[in-house]
Structures are given as structure tokens and as C-alpha cells.
């Protein structure tokens, strides 16, 4: 009778396509919004992952995310270098500074100063110039891909390019190279220079050291080294993953994007329940006369349950597949456009569970009608 159930379902093309579209749309909405949320959450840690040459980040314990600069005493660097298990430790400066581009355009940028001697903590890959070019006079590095949007010359047209000169905090600098980094959640362009140059550009403060990037000895216990650093300096040492997680959690909870995207995912679920539940319920109502005939002709309650479940299962599986397919396609397009989209394995699983719930609700609504049906209905005109 599964054959009969499926033909009843597929035979009415319009309703069938409507049901499929409902499930597919719900799946797409759940998958797409979840994937964008995960992508955005992932992008909050881009700077940390791109600067992950070390094992630990030493910072003030009040730091809530990667751009939250709470500077440290300069002496901390030497204290950290003295902790057992530390192979090397380098300073990192990070601060939000005002830049004035060649045509007068103003922009806020994140200036990152990396160790002068080793240039450790620099961007992951260079497009134009080399990391060593930072040793040239007034040299800075800009993000090759982000420059057209984030360092746009609003007055003259175009954007900041290799070899251009501009001011940061009224200090002239020159683009000595461009780098390629991961897409970041944070809007402000990241400009790299050396630590000492960063300190000369940035407004003078009593404390100018933002982070100490630490590499541990091979085989060292990261947790133990972090504890020792804390004991020696009173500061917190976080692994790259821990720092990325702290940043992600802060952004998700403090900016409201979790609530917004959560609402969109919830909306997808509710739309799915309403559309699929309603359409399947209507489909069953329209078919009640035939279910009544089948019941009169000897179809047991179990047979009718199997028929309805077969219909719901068919719609659910196919609609889910279409939704995941479109979701992946959309992700590919969005990803190519450089927007946040990341679909780990558990998003399709969660979507599958949501669709299962949607289909179960639809099935229960339909079965309530079918099982309550008096077969004598078939003799009523």
C-alpha cells in the first residue's frame, strides 16, 4: 500500500510540489541561517588563527575579545620569557587608530605591531612585497583583499595600494606590502607594522604592550606553562583555541547576532511546521474520502498509518535533500563572494532533526483525521 500512498501523494503535482517546497524552504532557512551564524562566529577568531605562530597569548584577564586592548607593563615580556617551558616570547601591540588616506578619506584601522627582530605574529601570507619589507622606513602592510572596501579612497576613487603613502595618527607611513588574511568579523582594516614603529605611531600611554605571544618548548604542557605564567605575572595565558572561543562567545552573547540568527532559524522551523503541517493536513483532508474507501475495503489502522508515514517520509527526505542542496549551493556562492558561511557536519544533522519534528507534527495532524475516520463516510454523498 506504500505504492498507493506515494501515488496519491505524487499524483497531485501542485500539492506535492507545494509540500516539497515547504520542507525544502524550511531546511534551507535553518541550514543557511545556521551556517552564516557559524561562519560569522568562526570569523571572530580570524585574527587569532592568522597570528597563531605561538602557542599561548598572554593578556590581561579582563580581555573579552581579540580587539579588546588592555595593555600590559613592558616588563611582563621579560617575566614571561623567564617562565619554565617558554621557548620564546614576543610582544604584540594592537590599537584602534585614525588613518587619513591620500585623498583625505578618514578611516579607523587596527594597527598591529609585531616583533621587530623576528617579525613573529605577522600575517599568514603575502601578496605584494615581503614580510621583511616591514624593516623599510615607515613600512606598513595592508590587507590586499579588504583594501577595496575598507581602505577606499572616497574622494579620489580607487583604494589604497602597494607603495601608496598615507597617515596613521598623523604619522606618515608607506604600504610596503600587501597580505592575504582570513575574512574577519571585525570591520576595521588590520594594518601591520613593527612593534617599535607601532609604539612611535600610537598615542603614548604608560602601558603599550597588548599581548605577549608565547611559543612553548616541544612537549611542554600548555596548561602548566599557562599556570606558571599566571603565577609569575598575574596575567592570563590562553591558547589560540581558548582565545578564539572567548572572542566568539563574547561576540555572540554581547552583540545580539546569536538572538537574531537564532530567531531566523526558529522562524524557519515555525514556517516549516506551519507550511508542512497545514499542507499535509489539507492534503489528508482532501483525501479523506479515499482513506474512507480504503478503510471500508479492509485497510487496517496500521496500514493507513504506514501510508501516511510513507507520504510524510517521502516529502521529508526529498524536501530535506533539496533544501540541503540549495543551502550548499548558496553557501558556495556566498563563500565565493567572501561572506561568512560555514556548514559543519552537525548543521545538516540539526536540520534533519528539525525536519523530522516538522514531519512528525504533520503526520500526527494527518493521522488524527485518518484514524478517527468512520468508514461509513463513504456512503455519504
Amino acid at each position: 500500500m506504500i505504492f498507493v500512498a506515494l501515488k496519491m501523494l505524487i499524483g497531485d503535482r501542485l500539492k506535492y510540489l507545494g509540500l516539497l517546497a515547504g520542507v525544502a524552504f524550511a531546511t534551507l532557512l535553518i541550514v543557511q541561517q545556521s551556517s552564516i551564524l557559524v561562519g560569522l562566529a568562526h570569523q571572530t577568531g580570524s585574527f587569532i588563527r592568522d597570528t597563531a605562530q605561538g602557542d599561548l597569548w598572554v593578556m590581561d584577564e579582563q580581555v573579552r575579545f581579540s580587539q579588546d586592548s588592555l595593555n600590559l607593563r613592558d616588563t611582563v615580556l621579560q617575566q614571561v620569557r623567564g617562565v619554565a617551558g617558554v621557548r620564546w616570547a614576543v610582544p604584540v601591540y594592537q590599537g584602534f587608530l585614525k588613518a587619513r588616506l591620500g585623498d583625505g578619506t578618514r578611516a579607523t584601522c587596527i594597527l598591529v605591531g609585531i616583533d621587530d627582530a623576528t617579525l613573529t605574529g605577522g600575517p599568514p601570507s603575502m601578496v605584494e612585497g615581503s614580510l621583511a619589507d616591514l624593516r623599510q622606513d615607515r613600512a606598513v602592510l595592508i590587507d590586499h583583499d579588504a583594501a577595496p572596501q575598507k581602505l577606499r579612497l572616497r574622494n579620489a576613487g580607487g583604494h589604497l595600494r602597494y607603495n601608496d603613502r598615507f597617515d596613521i595618527n598623523d604619522h606618515e607611513v608607506r604600504v610596503a606590502g600587501t597580505y592575504r588574511a582570513s575574512k574577519s568579523f571585525f570591520w576595521e582594516p588590520v594594518i601591520y607594522t613593527t612593534y617599535s614603529r607601532a609604539l612611535s605611531i600610537a598615542p603614548a600611554e604608560r602601558k603599550m604592550l597588548t599581548y605577549v605571544l608565547v611559543k612553548t618548548q616541544p612537549g611542554a604542557d600548555l596548561a602548566a606553562v599557562a599556570r606558571d605564567i599566571h603565577a609569575a605575572t598575574g596575567l592570563t595565558a590562553r591558547t589560540n583555541e581558548e582565545f578564539a572561543a572567548v572572542t566568539r562567545d563574547y561576540i555572540l552573547t554581547e552583540t545580539g547576532i546569536l538572538v537574531n540568527f537564532g530567531l531566523a532559524v526558529g522562524l524557519g522551523f515555525v514556517i516549516g511546521v506551519l507550511i508542512c503541517g497545514q499542507m499535509l493536513y489539507n492534503f489528508t483532508l482532501d483525501s479523506l474520502r479515499y482513506y474512507g474507501s480504503l478503510k471500508a475495503m479492509g485497510a487496517t489502522g496500521l496500514t493507513l498509518i504506514i501510508m501516511v508515514l510513507a507520504q510524510v517520509f517521502a516529502v521529508g527526505v526529498l524536501g530535506y535533500g533539496i533544501g540541503i542542496g540549495f543551502g550548499s549551493l548558496l553557501g558556495k556562492l556566498v563563500g565565493n563572494a567572501g561572506l561568512a558561511f560555514m556548514m559543519p557536519w552537525w548543521i545538516p544533522v540539526i536540520a534533519a532533526i528539525a525536519i523530522l519534528v516538522i514531519c512528525a507534527v504533520a503526520a500526527v495532524l494527518s493521522l488524527t483525521q485518518v484514524l478517527r475516520l468512520e468508514p461509513a463516510i463513504v456512503f455519504r454523498a
Partner: protein
């Protein structure tokens, strides 16, 4: 109370075994002020090999009686057995299974599933009984040939005329060789000529010596096909007519 037992001694079916035996069957719907008594003590016998018609005005209880006989509606009181099987003694599931094996249905509105073709519609009772689709459809094609639709087995209901749809419905009612076929107004949606074709089919193909046909109808034009007619009014069988042509003339 009128007992619809054979009254003519020369009736060819007089000595036949009973297919249906109803005694003092009552049925009501609703309660209190809304209570409607549909059957008020029905006594009715239908013999094997007999085509019995139930006739009467709307609301007289014909459909309720046929529903009770077919086991799709519970009676309130009385006895009713179909081929010696009393539904009230059976579980719901056993009753449904027995109905699937022993009873065929022909409905006024045909009730063919619009998304199944003619052969698949006819095959449904066999599929309900667990037969494979391929085997059921093969048998369905043979049945369709019996009702003159061998070339239309791929057609969907909306591609068939009313008469052809009813022929498909008859083939469906016969395919599992039920002992009893109940028909609800099988000709009311058809023109006179098509109605006669359908009745000839029912009488010649569906009716066998060991089976019975019960037909609910308003259509006086087909009374002549009945072996006997039970005339109903206000929930009672008020008259058993052994000469249907006589009733036809009366109507």
C-alpha cells in the same frame, strides 16, 4: 414488523442458504433532542445468489442499513450476520480484515483514487490483502477485460466517462471475489442507458450462486434487475416485493 423472508413458494432461490440475516436491528444517531432513530427493528434476509435492492425515500435508513450489513457501522441492538459471521462478536481489526476479504463495495461517487490508473484502482483490494503490486495489477487487467475496459487499463479516472468509472469500480469490487457486494446508488450518476449497462454487468458478472448483491437505490429504472426489493420507510422495511417489475410499474 415485516419479515422479509421469501413468501413465494415458487421462488427459485427459496431453498438457497442465507447470505445476510438481520433480526430486529436498531440504530440511532445523536442523543437527547438531537437523537435520530435511523433503524427501528429491521428484519431482513438476503439469500445467496440473490440481488436484493433497498429502496425508499431519503432518510428512510437505507444507507444506515447497508453500512451495518457491510460492517462499517455498529448497530445498537438486534442480530445481523453476513455469511454466518456476526460482526459484533469480532474485534475491530478482525472485522476490518474480514471485510477486506469478503465484501466488495461500489459507491455512488465511484471513489476511485484519481492518481491511480484504472488497473491500479482495481488492484487496490488485492494490495490491501497483501498481494504484490505487479500480481494485483495483472489480475486487475483481467477484471477490467470482464467489464469491457481491457484497452483502458492505463487511463486515469478523469480520462474515463462516468459509466466507465463505475465499471472500474465494479471490477474493483469483484477482484478479490468477495461473497457480498454492496452498492450505494450505483446508477444515480449515470444516464439511463449507461445505468442499464452497469446493472447488466453487476447481474451477470458480479452475481454468482454463492454470492449476494445488495443495492441501495432511488432509481426506479433499474428495479427490474432485482430478484427482490425491500421497500423501506422511517427506519423500517415496510414491504418486500418479490416481483420487481410490478414495483417498477407502481413507481
Amino acid at each position: 414488523m415485516i419479515t422479509a423472508s421469501p413468501s413465494r413458494s415458487d421462488s427459485p432461490a427459496e431453498t438457497s442458504a442465507l447470505a445476510i440475516r438481520c433480526r430486529n436491528v436498531t440504530k440511532h444517531y445523536g442523543s437527547g433532542d438531537a437523537k435520530v432513530i435511523a433503524l427501528r427493528g429491521i428484519d431482513l434476509d438476503v439469500r445467496q445468489g440473490e440481488l436484493m435492492m433497498l429502496v425508499g425515500p431519503s432518510g428512510c435508513g437505507k444507507t444506515t442499513l447497508i453500512s451495518v450489513i457491510a460492517g462499517i457501522l455498529d448497530r445498537d441492538e438486534g442480530e445481523c450476520s453476513v455469511f454466518d459471521q456476526d460482526f459484533s462478536a469480532m474485534s475491530q481489526r478482525a472485522r476490518t480484515l474480514w471485510r477486506g476479504q469478503k465484501i466488495g463495495f461500489v459507491f455512488q461517487a465511484f471513489n476511485l483514487i484519481p492518481t491511480l490508473n484504472a488497473a491500479e484502482n482495481v488492484a487496490v483490494p488485492l494490495m490491501i490483502l497483501g498481494e504484490s503490486r505487479a500480481a494485483a495489477v495483472r489480475k486487475a487487467q483481467d477484471r477490467l477485460a470482464q467489464v469491457g475496459l481491457e484497452s483502458r487499463w492505463r487511463s486515469y479516472p478523469n480520462q474515463l466517462s462516468g459509466g466507465q468509472q463505475q465499471r472500474v469500480a465494479i471490477a474493483r469490487a469483484m477482484i478479490h471475489e468477495p461473497k457480498l457486494i454492496v452498492c450505494d446508488e450505483p446508477t444515480s450518476a449515470l444516464d439511463h442507458e449507461t445505468g442499464h449497462v452497469i446493472m447488466r454487468l453487476l447481474k451477470t458478472v458480479a452475481l454468482q450462486p454463492d454470492r449476494a448483491l445488495v443495492i441501495v437505490t432511488h432509481d426506479a429504472r433499474i428495479f427490474g434487475f432485482a430478484d427482490r426489493i425491500a421497500k423501506m420507510d422511517d427506519g423500517r422495511v415496510v414491504k418486500i416485493v418479490d416481483d420487481p417489475n410490478h414495483l417498477h410499474a407502481e413507481e
